[in-house]
C-alpha cells in the first residue's frame, strides 16, 4: 500500500516537473513517469504471486513496453496524433486506473526485506561513476576525432533573373576561396578572395543576361594554383 502511494507521488512529481517546461528537467521527468506507470502496472498484474523484486521488475519493464506500444496503436486507431499531450493523457489514464485497482487490493504480508550493506551502495556508486567516465571518454573521442575536411558548393535555379552561388566551409579552419561564375563560358562575376569562417556559409548573387544557355560556378582555394576544385552547372530550362 505504501509502495503504491509512493509510486503515485512519484507520478505527480513527474507531472509537476514536466509542467515546468524546462528541457533539462523534462527528460528525467518523462522517464520517471514511465517508470511509475510500469511499477503500478506490475503491482496490479502481479500483486502477490511474484513477490521477488527482480521478477516484478521484469514484469513492470515488459508492461511499460506493452502499454506504450498498444497504447500508441490505440491512439492511432482512435484518430489521435501521437504527440506529447495525448501521450500524457494516456499515461495519466493508465496510472489512474492502476492506482485505483492497486489501492483497493487487499494488501498481503510484506515481502521479507534484506538490508543491503552500505558497502554495496558504495561499490555500486563507484561502478556507476566509472560508467559515466567511460561515456565521457567515448563522447570526447567522438568529438575530437579527425574529420576529412570538405567544402560544399551549390548553385540555385534562377529566381528573378539571378542565381545564388553558395559556399559552406567544413575545412576545420577559416578558408579563403576564389569564386568565378561564367555564363555561356564568359566570366560574368568573380570574387577573388572570399574568406569564409569555419562552419559558416557564404552566398553570392549573380544577375543573368536576358538570354543564356548555361551558368557555371567554380571554386578554388586561393592558396592553390587556380585549378577549380569544385564546379556546379545549371542549364536554361526555357531553351527550345
Amino acid at each position: 500500500m505504501v509502495r503504491v502511494w509512493l509510486t503515485l507521488a512519484l507520478m505527480a512529481t513527474s507531472l509537476l516537473l514536466l509542467a515546468q517546461g524546462m528541457p533539462v528537467v523534462s527528460g528525467p521527468a518523462a522517464l520517471l513517469m514511465v517508470a511509475a506507470m510500469g511499477a503500478l502496472l506490475g503491482s496490479v498484474i502481479v500483486p502477490l504471486r511474484l513477490p521477488e523484486r527482480w521478477e516484478r521488475a521484469a514484469v513492470s519493464l515488459a508492461l511499460v513496453f506493452v502499454a506504450l506500444v498498444l497504447g500508441g496503436l490505440a491512439l492511432s486507431t482512435a484518430g489521435l496524433l501521437l504527440n506529447g499531450r495525448n501521450w500524457l493523457g494516456l499515461i495519466v489514464l493508465i496510472v489512474a486506473v492502476c492506482g485505483v485497482i492497486a489501492l483497493r487490493e487487499r494488501a498481503g504480508p510484506a515481502a521479507r526485506q534484506r538490508s543491503i550493506p552500505g558497502g554495496v551502495w558504495l561499490l555500486a556508486g563507484l561502478a556507476a561513476t566509472q560508467a559515466a567516465v567511460a561515456a565521457g571518454l567515448s563522447v570526447a573521442g567522438a568529438l575530437t576525432a579527425p574529420q576529412t575536411p570538405f567544402t560544399q558548393l551549390t548553385l540555385s535555379q534562377p529566381v528573378g533573373g539571378a542565381v545564388i552561388v553558395g559556399l559552406t566551409n567544413h575545412e576545420g579552419s577559416d578558408e579563403t576561396y576564389a569564386v568565378v561564375v561564367r555564363v555561356d563560358g564568359a566570366e560574368t562575376a568573380s570574387w577573388p578572395a572570399v574568406t569564409v569562417p569555419r562552419g559558416e556559409r557564404w552566398t553570392g548573387r549573380v544577375t543573368l543576361p536576358s538570354t543564356w544557355q548555361n551558368v557555371t560556378a567554380q571554386v578554388s582555394r586561393s592558396r592553390e594554383a587556380a585549378v577549380p576544385s569544385l564546379q556546379t552547372t545549371i542549364w536554361n530550362r526555357n531553351l527550345e
Binding site: 523534462s26 527528460g27 518523462a30 522517464l31 514511465v34 498484474i45 502481479v46 504471486r49 527482480w54 521484469a58 519493464l61 515488459a62 508492461l63 511499460v64 513496453f65 506493452v66 502499454a67 506500444v69 498498444l70 500508441g72 496503436l73 496524433l81 501521437l82 504527440n83 506529447g84 501521450w87 500524457l88 499515461i91 498481503g108 504480508p109 515481502a111 534484506r114 550493506p117 558497502g119 554495496v120 561499490l123 555500486a124 561502478a127 566509472q130 567516465v133 567511460a134 561515456a135 571518454l137 567515448s138 570526447a140 573521442g141 568529438l143 579527425p146 574529420q147 570538405f150 551549390t154 548553385l155 540555385s156 535555379q157 567544413h170 576544385s229 569544385l230 556546379t232 545549371i234 542549364w235
Partner: protein, 652 residues
C-alpha cells in the same frame, strides 16, 4: 578429508540458491499467498559444509560491477584510440571485453552466489555488453538498420501518425513497436531521438536478461544453470552489435523471451492469476506489431512446444501452452492480413535467395564463400579466425553433452525438449555460412536458435561429467568455455573493421557514415525540400533517407534496378530509360566508390551486376560521365559527392 555431510550431498539433485516456488492452483478463486504455503528448502549452511559463508547480499555482484565499470573505460579508450589509427586500439578493446565478461562469468559459474545476485549479474552483463556497442558511436546512429528505423521514428514524431512510407525499408512502418515507444519518450520529455533510442534498447536488454533467466530457471529448476545459460546466450554472434542496434528485432526478441517465460508461468499456474494471462496476451500482441520474423519464430516455437505438451504423457499443465499459441497465430494472421500485407513477400525474398545460393553451392555451380574473408578480399586476423573456429567447436561439442546430460537427469518435459530441439538444429545453420546471402541468413537464424543452444550448453557445463573430476566442481571449465564462446561470437558476428570506429571505408556501412555524406543529406532537405525522388549508392541513399527525408528510388520499392546507371561509362538510351522508369529527379554520385572495392561486396544492392565478385572498383570515368552533359544540372559539389538535377532529362 571431506567436509562433514559432503558425501551425503555428492549425488543429491542440484540445490537452488533460493527455493523455487511450487505454485498451487487457486482454491475457490481466492488468490493464496504462496509464500506462506511453500516452506523453504532445507539447506545446510555453507559453514556446515566447511565452505565460507555466503557473502552479504549484493556484495559479490557489486564488486564485479566495479571491475565492469573499469572495463568499459578501457573499451571507450580503445574506441578513442581507434579514431586516430592507433595500433593499441584493438588489443585494448579485447582486454576490455575480457574484463567485462570473465569476472561475471566466473561469478555466475560458481555455486555461492544467491539467486538474486545472479539475476543482478546477468542484467549487469547484458547492460555492459550493450554499452560496448553504444560507446562505439555515442553521438549518432551509424548502423545501416538503425538509420532506417531512425527515419520511421522521425516520421512518427514529426507527423504524429503511424504507417508513413519508408522506401528503403517498407516493413519498418508496418511494425512500429520500437518507434512508438521511442517517439513516446521524445514527445513526452523532449529527449533527443538518439538518446531515447539508447534508453529503449538498453531497457530492452535488461528485460532480455531477466526474462531469459526466469525462463531457463523454470526449465532447469536451477538458478546456477539459468545464470550460465543467460551468459552463454551472449555468445550468439548477433548479440553484442547487431542485436544492440536501434532496430525492431532489438525490442521484439526480449519481449518474445518474456512471452515465453509468461507462457511457462501461466501454464504452471493455470488460471490462478488471470491478470498474468492479460499480461501474456498483451506481450504477444506487442511482439506481433514489433517485428515480423520474431513473431513468426515465436509462433513456430509455441506450436512445437504445445505439440510436445500434447504428446508427452504426464505434462497436462503444459498443454495450456496451446492457448497463447492460438492467440499468437490469430494476432500474426490478423496483422499480416490487415496491416502488413507486403510482409510475406519481403521476408521470403532473402530466404529464397539464400536457398538458391545454397542450391548452387551444392550443385557445384558456385564456389563456397571463403570464411573470415571480406568481399573486398581482406582476411580477418589469425587471432580472430582462431577464436571464431574455437567458439563454434565448443558449441558443437557442448550441445550433445548437454542434451545427453539433460536426458539423463531430468524426466521428459515439453519445455526442456522444446528448448533442446533448436540446439540440435544448430549444425545445419553452419552450412549456410558458405554462401554470401546465406551467411547473413544463418546469423539471423542463430539469434533465435541460441535460446535453446544456451540452455543445453549450460546444462552440460553445470551438471556435466567434468563436475566430478574437475577441481572446484568444473567452475573453471564452465567459465573458460563461456568466455571463449562469447568472444568467438563477437568475432563471428561482426567483422574486424566494424568493431572499432575509424576512417572512411567504401561501402562498409558503419565505417562509411561520415560528415560529408551527412552534410549532403542535410543540404537536400533544407534546399530541395523532402520527398524528392532520388537515386544513390547504398550508403548515401541511407543518409538521404534518414537525414535528407528524400524518397529513394531503388529495386525493392520501385522495381527498377539503377546500379547500371552508375556503373556504365556511357550515358545513353538505356540509362535514360532506367531513370525515366524510376521517375528519378535527382542523382547523387559519390566519387569515392571508384577508390576501392566495396567492403560488403556491393555498392548498391546484392543483385547489382558484379556483386560479391568485384575485382576492380567502379571506374572514375563512369562516375564523372554526367559532368558537362547538356541538360543535366550539377547543383551540388563537395569534392567527393555531386548531386545532379535530371528534370530536363527524365521529367521527374
Amino acid at each position: 578429508m571431506s567436509p562433514p555431510g559432503a558425501s551425503v550431498l555428492k549425488d543429491a539433485p542440484p540445490v537452488m540458491d533460493e527455493p523455487i516456488r511450487s505454485v498451487t492452483p487457486a482454491a475457490s478463486g481466492i488468490v493464496p499467498d504462496f509464500r506462506a504455503s511453500v516452506p523453504p528448502l532445507a539447506r545446510p549452511s555453507g559453514s556446515e559444509l566447511g565452505r565460507p559463508a555466503t557473502p552479504a547480499l549484493g556484495l559479490g555482484v557489486a564488486s564485479v560491477a566495479v571491475i565492469t565499470g573499469a572495463a568499459l573505460c578501457l573499451v571507450a579508450a580503445a574506441y578513442s584510440l581507434a579514431r586516430w589509427g592507433s595500433p593499441f586500439a584493438m588489443p585494448l578493446y579485447w582486454l576490455g571485453i575480457a574484463e567485462i565478461v570473465a569476472p561475471i562469468v566466473v561469478y555466475l559459474a560458481s555455486s555461492s552466489p544467491r539467486r538474486r545476485d545472479r539475476l543482478m549479474a546477468v542484467a549487469l552483463l547484458y547492460l555492459a555488453l550493450f554499452a560496448v556497442k553504444a560507446l562505439q558511436n555515442p553521438l549518432e546512429l551509424t548502423y545501416f538498420d538503425e538509420l532506417l528505423h531512425w527515419r520511421t521514428a522521425l516520421d512518427i514524431i514529426e507527423s504524429g501518425r503511424l504507417f508513413e512510407e519508408n522506401s528503403l525499408l517498407p516493413a519498418s512502418p508496418l511494425f512500429p513497436g520500437l518507434e512508438i515507444v521511442t517517439s513516446a519518450l521524445v514527445n513526452l520529455g523532449e529527449i533527443p531521438l538518439h538518446l531515447a533510442g539508447l534508453i529503449v534498447v538498453g531497457a530492452a536488454r535488461v528485460l532480455f536478461a531477466l526474462s531469459l533467466f526466469l525462463l531457463f530457471e523454470l526449465a532447469s529448476r536451477s538458478a546456477r544453470v539459468a545464470g550460465v545459460a543467460v551468459a552463454l546466450y551472449a555468445g550468439n554472434p548477433n548479440f553484442v552489435y547487431f542485436g544492440s542496434q536501434f532496430a525492431y528485432e532489438s525490442l521484439a526478441l526480449p519481449l518474445a523471451a518474456f512471452a515465453l517465460y509468461l507462457t511457462a508461468r501461466t501454464a504452471q499456474e493455470r488460471f490462478a492469476n488471470p491478470r498474468l494471462w492479460i499480461a501474456l496476451i498483451g506481450t504477444l500482441a506487442c511482439v506481433t506489431v514489433t517485428h515480423h520474423v520474431t513473431s513468426y519464430v515465436l509462433l513456430l516455437f509455441l506450436i512445437f512446444w504445445s505439440t510436445l505438451a500434447l504428446v508427452i504423457p504426464g505434462a497436462p499443465r503444459q498443454r495450456l501452452v496451446l492457448v497463447p499459441t492460438v492467440l499468437l497465430a490469430g494476432f500474426v494472421v490478423f496483422w499480416a492480413a490487415m496491416v502488413a500485407t507486403t510482409t510475406p513477400e519481403y521476408v521470403a525474398a532473402p530466404v529464397t535467395r539464400g536457398v538458391q545460393d545454397l542450391a548452387r553451392l551444392v550443385g557445384g555451380e558456385a564456389p563456397p564463400r571463403e570464411l573470415f574473408r571480406s568481399a573486398s578480399g581482406e582476411s580477418a586476423p589469425l587471432f580472430d579466425q582462431a577464436l571464431g573456429y574455437l567458439s563454434v567447436l565448443l558449441v558443437v561439442l557442448g550441445i550433445p553433452v548437454g542434451a545427453w546430460t539433460l536426458w539423463r537427469r531430468e524426466s521428459p518435459d515439453a519445455l526442456r525438449l522444446a528448448l533442446t530441439a533448436p540446439a540440435l538444429a544448430y549444425p545445419v545453420t553452419l552450412v549456410l555460412r558458405f554462401v554470401s546471402v546465406g551467411s547473413e541468413l544463418a546469423s539471423r537464424t542463430v539469434a533465435f536458435l541460441y535460446v535453446g543452444i544456451a540452455f543445453v550448453l549450460a546444462v552440460g557445463l553445470v551438471w556435466g561429467p567434468w563436475r566430478r573430476w574437475a577441481r572446484g566442481g568444473g567452475k573453471a571449465v564452465t567459465a573458460g568455455w563461456v568466455v571463449a564462446i562469447i568472444a568467438g561470437g563477437i568475432v563471428v558476428g561482426w567483422p574486424n573493421w566494424g568493431r572499432l570506429p575509424g576512417p572512411y571505408l567504401v561501402s562498409a556501412d558503419t565505417r562509411s557514415i561520415e560528415a560529408e555524406g551527412r552534410a549532403a543529406a542535410e543540404w537536400t532537405r533544407e534546399t530541395l525540400g523532402p520527398h524528392n525522388r532520388l537515386a544513390a549508392d547504398r550508403i548515401n541513399r541511407l543518409l538521404q533517407t534518414a537525414y535528407g527525408d528524400q524518397r529513394i528510388v531503388h529495386g525493392l520499392a520501385d522495381g527498377v534496378e539503377l546500379a547500371p546507371v552508375f556503373q556504365s561509362e556511357e550515358f545513353g538510351a538505356r540509362e535514360i530509360e532506367l531513370l525515366r522508369r524510376g521517375r528519378v529527379r535527382y542523382l547523387l554520385v559519390d566519387r569515392r566508390l571508384s577508390t576501392a572495392l566495396p567492403v560488403l561486396g556491393m555498392y548498391f544492392d546484392p543483385t547489382e551486376p558484379g556483386a560479391f565478385g568485384y575485382v576492380q572498383p567502379i571506374s572514375r570515368t563512369a562516375l564523372d560521365k554526367l559532368d558537362g552533359l547538356f541538360g543535366i544540372d550539377k547543383i551540388y559539389d563537395s569534392g567527393n559527392i555531386a548531386i545532379y538535377d535530371l528534370q530536363l532529362v527524365t521529367g521527374g
